[in-house]
């Protein structure tokens, strides 16, 4: 690794840090300053001014916003996420188990989506213009231009209503047996895989087509290399970087999809927790969930960029 790469990487990580700081400010302003006075919200309209004043002192709401922001962000990175308004439980306890559930769902989806979209993306790029390519393209454009909940309802209609393979919307707690586990995960995973792989297939296809159009592939073609050799030993190694970049980027679509999917299938994950928190206006909970989501998103995007930097042979 030379100095130039090192500089690019530290620079990219520095930018991510700045972005994270700005995001934290936006989340803090939106959840703490915009809704008005927290003490009034907690005590309700009928509280006496003295009671509100007392609570404000106790919660340190009378301090300047900047001090409160610093206190909040320091506590957040120490794992102290505050106390939920709705049921007086520490937010960290509520988030912990739910986060694990969501990560399970995300990793199972990734395990299915990545190989599937690699295969479809590369084969469609190689057979560009064929009926197979057009069918896959129409499918991906279709999935991208409809809302996520429609992918979910369509999956339910196909697998539960017409084929009767899976239960419709109820996610039962029966996850002790393997069959039960599969049934519980199948529908959410199918939906998320569709949403995520549509993006992945498009980006992979574009990356491989780019590589196939390059002069060295043309050169190999003119030398008389076989089609298989052309793709496997010339085009693919050079498009691995862009493909990995595309994979990491499209995994960030998981975040949007997971919010819908966990709600519609009643999956006990962190996105469901957050949607419920928004309905009850439980601000500390929303704050923490929003920060966790933004962290995950930023991490994926930063990894995508780092892969792009590291895989560019011109920088080595």
């Amino acid at each position: 690794m030379n100095k130039h790469i090192l500089f690019l990487i530290t620079n990219r990580i520095f930018i991510s840090m700045i972005t994270l700081l700005i995001i934290a400010v936006i989340v803090f302003v939106a959840t703490t300053l915009l809704p008005g006075d927290t003490a009034t919200i907690l005590l309700g309209q009928s509280a006496t001014p003295e009671a509100i004043e007392g609570l404000r002192k106790a919660m340190q709401l009378d301090e300047p916003a900047f001090t409160r922001f610093i206190t909040w962000i320091v506590a957040f990175f120490h794992g102290d996420l505050g106390i939920s308004y709705a049921n007086d439980m520490p937010v960290a306890d509520m988030v912990g188990r739910r986060l694990l559930n969501s990560l399970k769902l995300a990793s199972v989806t990734t395990a299915f989506a990545v190989p599937l979209s690699l295969f479809l993306g590369i084969t469609t790029a190689v057979m560009r213009g064929s009926i197979y390519d057009r069918a896959v393209t129409i499918f991906t454009i279709g999935v991208i231009s409809i809302p996520e909940f429609m992918v979910a309802t369509t999956a339910v209609l196909i697998f539960a209503v017409y084929l009767k393979w899976l239960p419709a919307l109820s996610l039962t707690a029966d996850i002790d047996t393997l069959a039960g586990l599969l049934r519980a995960y199948a529908m959410p995973v199918i939906t998320l895989t569709c949403v995520v792989s549509a993006q992945m297939i498009r980006m992979t296809r574009a990356a491989v087509i780019d590589a196939l159009a390059s002069p060295y592939v043309e050169m190999a073609l003119l030398k008389g290399a076989s089609r298989k050799r052309l793709v496997l030993s010339h085009a693919l190694p050079n498009s691995l970087g862009p493909i990995a970049n595309a994979m990491a980027l499209s995994l960030s679509y998981l975040l949007g999809g997971v919010i819908i999917v966990e709600t519609i299938f009643n999956y006990p994950g962190i996105a469901k927790l957050m949607v419920d928190a928004v309905t009850t206006r439980d601000l500390p909970l929303i704050q923490s969930c929003a920060m966790i989501f933004c962290l995950a998103y930023l991490l994926l995007v930063t990894i995508a960029d780092l892969i792009a930097i590291l895989s560019n042979p011109r920088l080595r």
């Binding site: 936006i26 959840t31 409809i146 209609l157 960030s252 919010i259 928004v278």
Partner: protein, 282 residues
């Protein structure tokens, strides 16, 4: 799309739109008319329970079936079009106006104004859109003006980045330098010199952003955090009738299809615009 037919397109007149594109345009116009003349088209009053049955099938009295209370689904969808199209159009207009004006100003002004604005808007666009929407709704509630402003704010950074990228190339042209030397004001430069040169791609971008906004709005309404009952946009209609899903009631399927026809039509229309208009929109 990858349907390349250079031999046929080259011979035709320049501004001809392909057949698929015309189909897309026809569907867009259809929904616009439905949204505009909704009250005259709907066969039943919006909130009235007219069917004995709930989740009724399609019939001669109720063309698109009835919903979970026995209200006429056709009327609900016709009225839903007003919310979905109205809110989305208002939001996309605001987002693109702000984004394009800021983008052109940043490109022409350059310097610290450009870097600070770009950095800030980049950070904003790295908050996932649905999450941003959830945070805003939890903070200030969900009324229609709030929804419009929120959607506009969420999609301004994307529009800004797009317009700035286009305008930076224009700002490097000689005639901009000359306009500067003539002593033209910033407002004149961006409206008279830059805007006419990027208007085609910018309008194309507006169409795509409209699709994103429709999808996000429907998603929020589906979560119960968008348009609030008793009013319902298409996403809200799906939410109301989700209990009909296990027996495939038309009430839950048709609003989704309405959204899909609109978004796919806009995509088809834009994909098939003459290259001269959408130019460098890729």
């Amino acid at each position: 799309m990858t349907l390349e037919t250079p031999s046929t397109t080259r011979r035709r007149p320049r501004y001809q739109i392909k057949l698929v594109g015309m189909l897309g345009l026809a569907i867009i116009v259809f929904w616009l008319i439905v949204a505009a003349f909704g009250p005259h088209l709907a066969p039943y009053p919006i909130g009235e329970i007219v069917d004995q049955d709930y989740f009724g099938p399609m019939s001669r009295d109720f063309w698109l079936g009835s919903d979970y209370l026995g209200r006429d689904m056709l009327s609900r969808i016709v009225y839903g079009a007003r919310y979905t199209l109205g809110i989305s159009l208002a939001a996309v207009t605001m987002a693109c106006t702000c984004g394009v004006v800021l983008g052109m100003s940043a490109a022409v002004a350059g310097g610290w104004f450009d870097s600070v604005l770009s950095r800030f808007l980049d950070a904003m666009s790295s908050i996932p859109s649905k999450l941003f929407a959830l945070v805003v709704v939890s903070a200030v509630g969900s009324s229609i003006p709030v929804l419009i402003f929120m959607l506009a704010i969420i999609y301004t950074p994307g529009s800004y980045r797009f317009a700035r990228a286009l305008a930076v190339n224009i700002a490097a042209m000689d005639y901009i330098t000359i306009a500067r030397l003539r002593g033209e004001k910033m407002f004149h430069i961006i409206t008279a010199e830059v805007l006419p040169n990027i208007i085609g791609p910018v309008l194309t971008d507006l169409g795509l952003r409209f699709v994103f906004i429709v999808l996000l709005l429907s998603g929020m309404s589906f979560l119960g955090l968008g348009v609030q009952p008793p009013a319902a946009d298409w996403g809200g209609l799906v939410r109301e009738n989700i209990d009909g899903l296990p027996f495939a009631a038309p009430a839950v399927i048709l609003p989704s299809i309405a959204i899909a026809t609109l978004t796919i039509a806009v995509n088809l229309f834009i994909d098939n615009l003459p290259v001269k208009i959408r130019d460098r929109s890729e």
